[in-house]
């Protein structure tokens, strides 16, 4: 994990337009190391656009996205090398086993010859039963794929995790395991930015929550100050306005 003084993730007046559509308007936010920041919002509010801008999958129309102080637009590879990205559906090669997928992606991320016991350990830690390590991914459920993504984060010990609805569709036990791993990674100093619709997990996991509406960050709170019901009320109020 890299050491950096200052926020691990920072958006400075970050904007994105698609033609006449303002997908994101002057977003300013900071995620400090060790913090879990959850972003709530209706579909189309600009949450995934924010993630894509932090990964530089999209060029910003204005402002800057920084990862550990590095501008992702100008130093994309350097910024990405610090990030583990877990999308809603972790994409893996169906003809390879979970272990082979993990090995391949880790090699691409610069891990030279990660050894099998370490990888198997990470997969087990992520909750994937050993008998599935050497099974082809085409037979995996969504939860099992997510676990391979989590194992990747565990081995890489990334400073920043970008999660785009990582727990949608997971069964409660898997979601709980996933939450525990996120909490542990955050305690180890990882900054986690999570886009989600799950208010219960937001309250359970996050240190800070932001609510987005039509491309704007309309509210931002510390979760310790809120009960789950209050959070839900606040969210629904913003959605109604």
């Amino acid at each position: 994990m890299s050491h950096h003084d200052g926020p691990a993730l920072e958006a400075i007046n970050l904007s994105k337009t698609f033609g006449s559509l303002h997908a994101l308007k002057n977003l300013c936010l900071k995620v400090e190391p060790g913090m879990i920041y959850s972003m709530l919002g209706a579909n189309g509010a600009g949450k995934t656009t924010t993630v894509n801008l932090f990964l530089n999958f999209l060029e910003p129309s204005g402002g800057q996205a920084k990862v550990l102080g590095v501008n992702v637009s100008t130093n994309t590879s350097q910024a990405r090398s610090q990030i583990t990205y877990i999308p809603e559906q972790v994409a893996l090669y169906p003809d390879l086993t979970g272990l082979e997928n993990l090995t391949y992606f880790l090699q691409l991320a610069g891990h030279r010859g990660p050894n099998q016991p370490v990888l198997r350990g990470a997969l087990e830690e992520a909750g994937l039963a050993p008998e599935f390590h050497t099974k082809r991914v085409q037979g995996y459920s969504k939860g099992m794929r997510q676990k391979v993504g989590v194992a990747m984060a565990l081995v890489r010990r990334s400073s920043v995790l970008l999660l785009d609805e990582p727990m949608s569709g997971l069964d409660p036990a898997s979601a709980n395991e996933f939450s525990n791993i996120l909490t542990r990674l955050s305690r180890q100093g990882a900054a986690i930015f999570m886009v989600t619709h799950d208010l219960y997990r937001v309250k359970q996991l996050s240190h800070r929550v932001g609510i987005m509406k039509r491309g704007q960050l309309v509210d931002e709170r510390e979760t310790r100050d809120l009960e789950t019901t209050e959070l839900e009320k606040l969210y629904l109020e913003h959605m109604r306005l």
Binding site: G46, N52, L58, T76, S77, R80, P87, A91, Y93, A109
Partner: protein, 253 residues
């Protein structure tokens, strides 16, 4: 340029290629055709060479057996010269079929070459003759298109492209790795046929001397790389970072 990433992607492409059953089946068929083309072409080349030798001997004998004449009359009697086939003609007939094979040499007259296959044959000749070169020029590029034509789009559709890019892999590394991987995969598949079918067939037919071995390998190599380049160029052009950049996040907003 991150060489480790390029090597990893190259190895991955080769492995994926060997796991693609439809590609392997198609390759097997094309290579079988390549082997057949080699045998057919070598026989045709040998037969043609023998015919030329026989005809040339006949003409030479007729020339020698002329009665005693004035040299000027002998010059007007003329001589038929046949163009010998190139040693590597079995691989690629070249323009022989279109330019004519013999020329009548006589005094005061500048004749053009006669008896081209294209003039005598049906128009089917213009669609190509089954030679190893034809397989390289026409069929292997189709195989290359099948193999690499969707290499990026497939990854984009399955979601592995953003996953790969999010790890800090650059476009240069990705495209170079894929190109090298596919090139090596094709070399691995066509190499054995070239070594174990084409070369022995060429030796057996007597059309390949030792001095032509390197020429043949170079010729085949250039055919391979040229066709691979032409076939992959469009794919690489279509997947420039700019065009991919815009389309990676399908669920952009």
């Amino acid at each position: 340029m991150n060489r480790t990433q390029v090597q990893t992607i190259t190895a991955h492409e080769i492995r994926q290629g060997f796991q693609n059953k439809s590609f392997l089946a198609l390759t097997l068929l094309v290579l079988l055709l390549f082997a057949v083309a080699t045998v057919v072409s070598t026989n045709a080349h040998r037969r043609s060479q023998q015919e030329i030798r026989v005809l040339q001997d006949t003409v030479a004998r007729q020339w020698q057996e002329q009665p005693s004449r004035h040299p000027h009359r002998v010059a007007h009697y003329g001589y038929l010269a046949f163009r010998p086939r190139s040693p590597l003609g079995f691989f690629d007939f070249g323009v022989s079929d279109f330019t004519g094979n013999s020329i009548f040499l006589e005094a005061h007259v500048q004749n053009s070459a006669n008896f081209s296959e294209a003039r005598q044959d049906s128009s089917l000749l213009r669609f190509g003759t089954l030679t190893p070169a034809f397989v390289f020029q026409t069929l292997i590029p189709l195989l290359v298109i099948f193999l690499v034509g969707t290499t990026i789009t497939k990854e984009r559709e399955s979601g592995t492209l953003p996953q790969t890019l999010s790890l800090g892999v650059g476009w240069k590394e990705l495209l170079l790795g894929k190109t090298l991987g596919n090139l090596m995969l094709l070399a691995m598949l066509t190499g054995p046929v070239l070594s174990f079918v084409t070369l022995p067939a060429a030796y057996a037919s007597g059309s390949l001397g030792e001095q032509n071995l390197i020429r043949l390998i170079l010729l085949a190599g250039f055919y391979c790389s040229d066709q691979h380049y032409l076939s992959t160029r469009n794919q690489l052009y279509l997947t420039t970072p700019d065009t991919c950049h815009r389309s990676v996040p399908a669920s952009g907003v």
